[in-house]
């Protein structure tokens, strides 16, 4: 489970001249981005700057009107079939009253590699167990997902991504409503993921967390404004352009 992934020949994620529009409203234009295997990259922008749109394009939810995306050198569709992309949702976007146990949620990470009937094999159960162990949730495996705290729920979705053995993890506001214990565990996990060769893209508007966690950062405001090492990209001018002159306090 914790074994290294075989790195792709080129970058993990490659986005070229990406344009996305919704019925004529441009959400993202001329976005360029290239992320190597084994990095933690922050995706920073205001609400409506195109963070969600970029995620949707990377998960195949929206079709680009122009440009191309390559994940491990493959199209989004082929990468999905390889179980390469895991999306970790904001816990708020999930129905907490859903009648489903933590174990079953994590098992959903295995569906893509199962047969049509999605009957778990022994290897699937092992993968789920290992994933739950890594996020420290094994004792709570049989609890309904709604009985967990916000931080624990976040960890359950991280476990699902681990069970999926994805090489690209897309995390939507992972630090929202998270307790200290979860934050520490996440920091540790992200480093491990990075060493294993996974590429993590974190969307957030919390600059403090970006400085703390991310070695790379992408500033986005309808297009990619700047991209590179966090220390080099986080200049007052860049941040001013990202936030339209209103730089949030770090």
């Amino acid at each position: 489970m914790s074994g290294r992934l075989i790195p792709p020949a080129g970058p993990r994620i490659e986005v070229e001249q990406l344009c996305v529009d919704y019925n004529g409203t441009v959400a993202l234009y001329d976005a360029d981005l290239s992320l190597p295997p084994g990095c933690i990259c922050g995706l920073v922008g205001m609400n409506g700057a195109g963070k969600t749109t970029l995620f949707k394009a990377l998960t195949g939810f929206v079709r680009p009107s122009h440009g191309r995306i390559r994940i491990n050198g493959q199209t989004v569709l082929a990468a999905q079939r390889d179980q390469a992309v895991a999306y970790v949702p904001q816990s708020e976007g999930i129905d907490c009253n859903f009648p489903i146990s933590v174990w079953d949620v994590v098992m959903m990470g295995r569906y893509g590699s199962m047969s049509v009937l999605r009957w778990p094999r022994q290897s699937d159960r092992v993968a789920v167990r290992d994933a739950l162990e890594r996020v420290d949730l094994l004792p709570l495996a049989q609890r309904p997902i709604g009985a967990l705290s916000g931080g624990q729920r976040k960890r359950a979705f991280l476990a699902r991504a681990i069970a999926q053995r994805a090489s690209v993890l897309l995390l939507d506001e992972p630090f929202n409503g998270v307790d200290v214990r979860t934050e520490q565990l996440m920091a540790k996990l992200f480093l491990q993921f990075c060493q294993e060769g996974r590429t993590i893209l974190i969307s957030t508007h919390d600059l403090g967390h970006i400085r703390e966690f991310c070695d790379l950062v992408v500033l986005i405001n309808r297009t990619v404004l700047a991209y590179g090492e966090t220390s080099a990209v986080f200049t007052p001018e860049n941040l001013a352009r990202t936030f339209g002159g209103m730089v949030p306090k770090p």
Binding site: T59, Q80, Q83, A86, Y87, P99, S101, Y111, G112, P144
Partner: protein, 279 residues
């Protein structure tokens, strides 16, 4: 025991009991997905929209389920199209489209020369169900149950987290339309038993009742099917002995079971002692 056995001496009662139990079971299974996906209104819409299809099919001498299916799926497509191409909110579009279809059905019933009884479509006619109708119901039920069983895990994921489903390469568009087709088919089957107006109860209430009783999806499906089948059987008996509307009795029993769960469910009932501990 006479109250239990006497009705069974009539062939029409045996048929009615079997058909309503079968339809109840199928609707109960589907109702779990409807309640979890939040498609109650969609169920209402589709069940009303199938009405013109039934009339047209009868007029053309086709199996009524075919016409109903075409109009059921057509209404869903119309809802999707209007929603996408206009600024109107979804619930408004649903209300608008299904009433339009339903009105068309009413006008057709009154103008098209046929032996269709409007009240049978509106309120069901399980006591007078014909053999060919039973065959259609059997066929529909088998198809629906097979689809729901084969794709149960995918559908569960589709209800719970469609983004994840999509990102691991599951065709969520296909699942969406499959669930809608299954809904149309089931509405047709339910139409036989309880009629257009009350079908939505069959498609929602058992799932809602079961949802209050468990935190496990598998248990929820079993409970929904059990409560639905039980309601159908009790409802038909009550209707026989009280000489009242069969559809009304079936749905009333379902509502009664829901109220019991609402009051007494171990964790989520309003009188439950564990309630304060619930998350």
């Amino acid at each position: 025991m006479t109250w239990l056995l006497e009705p069974l001496s009539h062939a029409f009662m045996v048929k009615a009991l079997l058909v309503s139990a079968l339809v109840g079971g199928v609707c109960g299974l589907l109702s779990c997905y409807m309640t979890l996906k939040g498609w109650a209104l969609m169920g209402d819409a589709v069940s009303h929209a199938v009405m013109p299809g039934v009339v047209v099919a009868y007029a053309l001498g086709l199996p009524f389920s075919l016409g109903a299916f075409v109009f059921g799926v057509g209404s869903v497509a119309a809802i999707g199209f209007v929603k996408q191409k206009s600024r109107i909110k979804e619930d408004t579009v649903i209300g608008l489209v299904f009433t339009g279809f339903f009105a068309l059905g009413l006008v057709l019933v009154s103008k098209v020369r046929s032996n269709i009884d409007l009240t049978h479509i509106l309120f069901g006619n399980v006591l007078g169900i014909s053999s060919s109708d039973i065959q259609q119901t059997l066929l529909i039920s088998a198809l629906v149950v097979a689809l729901l069983l084969v794709f149960r895990r995918d559908l569960l994921l589709f209800c719970f987290d469609p983004t994840h489903a999509r990102s691991i390469g599951i065709n969520t568009g296909l699942l969406h339309y499959m669930l809608l087709s299954v809904l149309s088919l089931t509405a047709v089957a339910g139409l036989q038993t309880v009629g257009v107006i009350l079908v939505v109860a069959m498609l929602v209430t058992p799932g809602a009742t079961a949802y209050l009783l468990t935190d496990r999806f598998d248990r929820m499906t079993l409970l929904a099917i059990a409560s639905s089948v039980l309601s159908s059987l009790i409802g038909v008996y009550v209707s026989y002995w009280s000489d009242s509307s069969t559809a009304g009795c079936i749905v009333l029993v379902q509502t009664g079971l829901f109220l019991l769960a609402f009051l007494l469910a171990p964790r989520y009932g309003i009188l439950s002692s564990q309630r304060s501990q619930a998350p």
